[in-house]
């Protein structure tokens, strides 16, 4: 291990120090790299100083900015991969995700699922990555922030000649009067300290804390994100609702009741092609451009005492749910998420006498909840014998794929006054099978459709924490960006005054300050050594 560095002024500096913490004398190669060394006031980054135990080694690993950036890169790449296939919450709800990803997307889908990309924000390794990012931010900030704070707090008025000489803005042997300079600097809001005929002016030191404030915000933000996984903090569910249907809102069952939602109507509106304002833009697209997705909803609550489906249902309120305009109640919000237009809902038929082609009656079958018997009057009636909402043939036998009426098929029994015999007919879309010798047939007459809406049910108690983190983050950014830490050292020497100046950013600004000082007091403008070098 390196030894402490003892400066000629007698100060003991920790190993790794670039500039003496007391008098400001630059050590070793700090002279040549004065500007870089000044970033942390030439203090030793602690991580590089002590490297003895395993704890120190872990600490030093996370202290590295390089490591921090790599963690960010890995997180970004993972997040990007997570968008290749849909996330778990957007796949159909009634399928097993394990087999769904494989059957839909093949081997890649299987790997995607196995590695947890299907539920990225919930996968353990992604959480660990975020945690490592938080750790990296905390450790790196402590390692740099604490020594910086200490050395800025301890800074002395009189600095070592070498320190002044190697600053970017420097002037030697200047003739001038300290008293008038002091007044001129005060006018520019500098804080001034004096010692033995030397002067130190400083302003905007707090801007140096900007990055650290910013990091505190970021850590609070990440903590808020982690809190999502804690019980009771976060709910996100999807609810599909047909027009006219009422269903319990998932996640809202509690001791004092259960919320229900009715979908009165789902509305999809498009921009008018002839709209004066958007005419030109709309010409560039052949498809209609949607303007509004809206669910007209009614919110109910039951006093169910924790029993699903029990209790009296009372209306709470009604409202429109539009994209980004959720319906809110208690700590829940309902967001418009998805929709399905024109799902088959009812089919109407006519009973026709085949020979005369005469219609003897009409009836309508509700495809979601069909009735069994349809009385057509005058002794005619139709029974619905069998119903297949999503019909297909398997080994010559009609079956249904599921309970969604995408391709309905029916077996009707037709009853007429003149016959006691029931005539049977199988009716499907574009596929009617009749028994030989039937006198009557069922003819398709029309359809009714309904729209479905999908709403996201969300409760998020982490939002205030995440917002607080965001606000602190922004304060840090502003603090660091819009203010600069400017310092001017004036040291009395035999040949005149030595003037050096430093700013953490915006050299133009500090030069303007010095110009004002020069105008007021008549001193020579310090030379910008960097500008001189490049010129």
């Amino acid at each position: 291990m390196e030894k402490t560095i003892i400066c000629e002024c007698g100060h003991h500096n920790p190993p790794g120090t670039l500039i003496c913490q007391s008098c400001g004398k630059p050590f070793a190669d700090a002279k040549e790299n004065m500007e870089a060394s000044m970033r942390y006031e030439g203090t030793a980054r602690r991580s590089q100083t002590y490297n003895r135990t395993a704890v120190d080694k872990i600490w030093n690993f996370f202290s590295s900015v390089k490591v921090g950036i790599w963690i960010i890169v890995v997180i970004l790449v993972a997040a990007a991969i997570g968008t290749i296939f849909p996330q778990e919450m957007y796949i159909p709800q009634n399928v097993d995700p394990a087999s769904h990803y494989e059957s839909e997307y093949g081997n890649l889908g299987k790997i995607y699922f196995l590695l947890g990309f299907h539920n990225l924000y919930g996968s353990w390794w992604f959480i660990v990555l975020l945690g490592m990012l938080a750790l990296s931010i905390i450790v790196a900030s402590i390692d740099r922030g604490v020594p910086l704070y200490k050395s800025l707090k301890r800074q002395k008025v009189i600095r070592h000649d070498q320190f002044l000489k190697h600053q970017r803005l420097f002037a030697q042997d200047v003739k001038g009067d300290l008293g008038t300079m002091k007044i001129a600097l005060k006018e520019q809001n500098y804080k001034i300290r004096e010692e033995n005929g030397s002067l130190f002016a400083e302003k905007g030191r707090f801007s140096r804390w900007g990055p650290y404030v910013n990091h505190v915000g970021l850590v609070i933000f990440l903590a808020g994100a982690m809190l999502r996984f804690f019980p009771g903090m976060y709910v996100e569910e999807v609810l599909w609702l047909r027009e006219g249907d009422t269903a319990a809102i998932p996640g809202t069952l509690s001791e004092d009741g259960q919320y229900y939602l009715k979908n009165e109507k789902f509305i999809l509106e498009f921009y008018d092609k002839n709209d004066e304002q958007f005419k030109d833009a709309l010409q560039n697209t052949s498809n209609p451009v949607p303007k509004n997705f809206q669910t007209n909803a009614v919110l109910y609550k039951s006093d169910s005492n924790g029993t699903i489906g029990a209790g009296e249902i009372k209306k709470v309120k009604e409202g429109k749910i539009q994209v980004n305009k959720p319906l809110k109640f208690d700590s829940f919000s309902l967001y418009q998420t998805d929709f399905k237009m024109d799902e088959l809902n009812a089919m109407s038929f006519s009973l026709v006498e085949k020979e005369s082609q005469k219609k003897v009656g009409a009836f309508e079958v509700d495809l979601i909840n069909p009735k069994k018997k349809y009385d057509l009057g005058n002794g005619y009636s139709v029974n619905l014998g069998k119903y297949y909402p999503n019909y297909f043939l398997e080994d010559g036998e009609p079956k249904t794929k599921n309970n969604v009426p995408d391709n309905p098929a029916f077996v009707f029994e037709m009853i007429s006054p003149e016959s006691t015999k029931k005539e049977k007919a199988f009716v499907a879309i574009k596929n009617n099978i009749e028994m030989e010798g039937n006198r009557y047939k069922v003819e398709f007459a029309g359809i009714k459709t309904k729209n479905l809406t999908a709403l996201t049910v969300r409760k998020d108690h982490t939002l205030p924490i995440v917002s607080l983190g965001g606000i602190i983050f922004m304060i840090g950014v502003v603090q660091g960006l819009y203010w600069n830490h400017r310092r001017i050292w004036i040291k009395e020497k035999e040949g005149g005054l030595w003037i050096a100046a430093h700013t953490n950013k915006n050299w133009f600004g500090i030069k303007k300050d010095l110009q004002k000082l020069s105008d007021k007091t008549g001193i020579v403008m310090p030379e910008d050594r960097t500008a001189a070098k490049t010129a």
């Binding site: 600490w59 996984f229 699903i308 029990a310 249904t400």
Partner: protein, 175 residues
Amino acid sequence: MKRNGRFWFRSILLALIAAAIGYTVYSSFFIKERTLVNSGDQAPDFVLTDVNGKEVRLSDYRGKGVFLNFWGTWCKPCEREMPYMERQFKVYKEQGVEILAVNVGESNIAVEDFRDKYRLTFSIPLDKNRDVTRAYGIGPIPTTLTIDKNGKVVEKTSRSLSNKDIVQMMEKIKP
């Protein structure tokens, strides 16, 4: 002294963050299960109307074992286990076990037809809006939960059950 302080500060800070990450990962494994009903949980009470028009309330079966099955007429594995359920229902009915075969969102006609085809005699509550299915967090069907006489879930499975499976499950919830 100073060196020691640094060691402890670093160790404690690293341990705290590691604990926070650990707990988050731990609870992320259970976040899904929290919204579901699992074995060991109290089975949420519900009221549904069955295919015969009778109101069925789960809590009315306190004191009895309940074999709670979620199914659909179009689901093959559901269809396979139904005759076994019927057979064992006849055996265990006398021993205080009820079967509630909750149909997930289908029409009366489809369910009646199915009931008649397999001559099912146990109660078939109709969960038209899927409220109960959602509240129980049922994913793929068939899913069966066995509930003991105190209303506690003993077992939950999404397999298609064999006759033997059903006997074993019934034995466990027999009061």
